[in-house]
Amino acid sequence: MIKFQDVTKTYKGATVALRDFCVDIDKGEFVFLVGPSGSGKTTFIRLLLREEMPSSGRIWEAGKEIGHLPKWRIPYLRRNIGCVFQDFRLLPNKSVFENVAFALEVIGRPKHVIAAQVPQVLDLVGLAKKRDNLPHELSGGEQQRVAVARAFVNRPLILLADEPTGNLDPTTSLGIMRLLDRINRTGTTVIVATHDAGMVDQMRRRVIELDRGVLVRDQPHGVYGIDSATAAAGAGSPTGAMAEQAPADEYPDSIAART
């Protein structure tokens, strides 16, 4: 689904955001992207959206190499990628329904498709009753659900989330993560860049760790960091609705892989 081959990205020739980065992400995977600020997580996401071009190396997405994509094809690439951000990026003067419908409208979907798909996805994120509210009438968690609905309404192959829970309290964050997990179960590849250690530890999904632009860890069923891994191992089996997704017998493997 996604393949990075020796990708290096430097800004203005000096700052190295990614260095010789190689990664392979399969269809339907759920991947956490972790690392301190400035480690290259956002650059990774921007490269996937082709808001940036790699300085060197090659990137494939859904079977196409995107480095050589002509400019006019970029919008069509982005239709395969849903995007969620820390700051939600909702349109303040549009209702919940209109915000989600907007994503379909601007790619030219006919009205009857919009009328059918938007309520469906609002149902999925649990906001069917708030469809006529404006964003400022919603809580942060609800706003992020609208953003997720907007990202997912076009049924993209990939869902990118850049710090989706950065502005939310732990309980609300858990709800958003559950939602992303549900979307992942429909076969959508989900990539989440996050600092939320608790969430990563709890979900036990593949973890890709970056540090100053270099891949330092790629671990299936991983945890946020070495320390938290020990803590998680000590605490025993993780809890939460998503935990049942990861079979318990794979945990020893993941711990082995990390050391």
Partner: protein
């Protein structure tokens, strides 16, 4: 991907309304400048129209002294026929001139004159209208000749005045059109700024570049078109207001405006040109704004 006309016009209308003060300023500037362009064009066409009139009509009149004898009149006729400058000449008797005077003069003035006061005349068409002064030289003072008249000087003054006016109008219009483009550019820039969130979301979810650009371009085009519409009204008002639509008759031969009168097609052509220039100004202004400020 086709961009629906409904979507584009809806978005453009919303933007125009949101920014209405600037929109009105841009439209008025377009209107004033295009009205100037339109009037300059009308003037130019009218002037060439009038010149054609003067040049194809009678270019020199040799008035025969009312007291002159028939042989004298005949010899003038003969000399005119032999003159290298003259193409054709038509003899008009005293009765003819009297009848013409009846049409041209008010009754009380006519009553003060009698048939005998009217000179007979030769109405001549020249090979080359610019040779009228030579004809004047040749025949003035000849026995039996009362006088020679040609409209040369009047036409020249008229033409140079119109020529200068035309250039003044056009250069002012060009300056105004430039400022109109800049005003349109600025309204579009403000519209783009007001909608930057929407634009960023549109880019994110994969709207095509033209889908994002077209409403802004349409907005500029509408401003240009509305300005042009006002200018067309001004041009038409000018056309009817000063009587450029008059039909030429013998009665208004002396009226310069009537000589400049234009047909409906010429006016329609001017209006279409004004409309096209308006649209071009709008599209160019907004295209610049979109290229410069809408980073897609």
């Amino acid at each position: 991907m086709p961009v629906s006309a409904g979507y584009v016009s809806r978005e453009a209308a919303t933007n125009l309304w949101r920014n209405r003060l600037m929109t009105v300023a841009a439209i008025l500037t377009v209107a004033v400048s295009l009205a100037l362009v339109g009037s300059a064009l009308l003037l130019k066409q009218g002037a060439s129209q009038a010149t054609v009139q003067w040049q194809n009509g009678v270019q020199a009149i040799v008035w025969v002294n009312p007291g002159a004898s028939t042989p004298q009149a005949n010899s003038i006729g003969g000399e005119l026929k032999d003159s290298p400058y003259i193409k054709t000449c038509a003899y008009r008797s005293q009765t003819y001139d009297y009848d013409e005077a009846k049409q041209l003069l008010p009754a009380d003035e006519l009553d003060a004159t009698a048939l005998a006061d009217y000179p007979s005349s030769y109405r001549c068409v020249l090979n080359d209208p610019s040779q009228a002064p030579a004809v004047y030289q040749q025949f003035t003072g000849k026995p039996g000749v009362y006088g020679v008249k040609y409209p040369g000087q009047q036409i020249k003054t008229m033409q140079s005045v119109i020529h200068i006016l035309q250039w003044v109008f056009l250069s002012v219009a060009v300056v105004l059109l430039l400022s109109a483009s800049v005003l349109i550019l600025n309204t579009i820039r403000m519209a783009i700024f007001a909608r930057r969130r929407e634009v960023s979301v549109m880019k994110l979810v994969g709207a095509t570049n033209w889908f994002i650009r077209l409403p802004f371009m349409a907005e500029g085009m509408i401003q240009g078109l509305l300005g042009a519409a006002v200018a067309v009204l001004v041009v038409l008002a000018l056309y009817w207001g000063i009587g450029l639509n008059a039909t030429k008759t013998a009665a208004n031969q002396g009226n310069i405006i009537a000589q400049m009168s234009l047909g409906g097609w010429e006016v329609a052509g001017t209006c279409i040109l004004v409309a096209v220039v308006g649209v071009v100004v709008g599209v160019v202004g907004s295209a610049f704004a979109v290229r410069r400020f809408l980073d897609v």
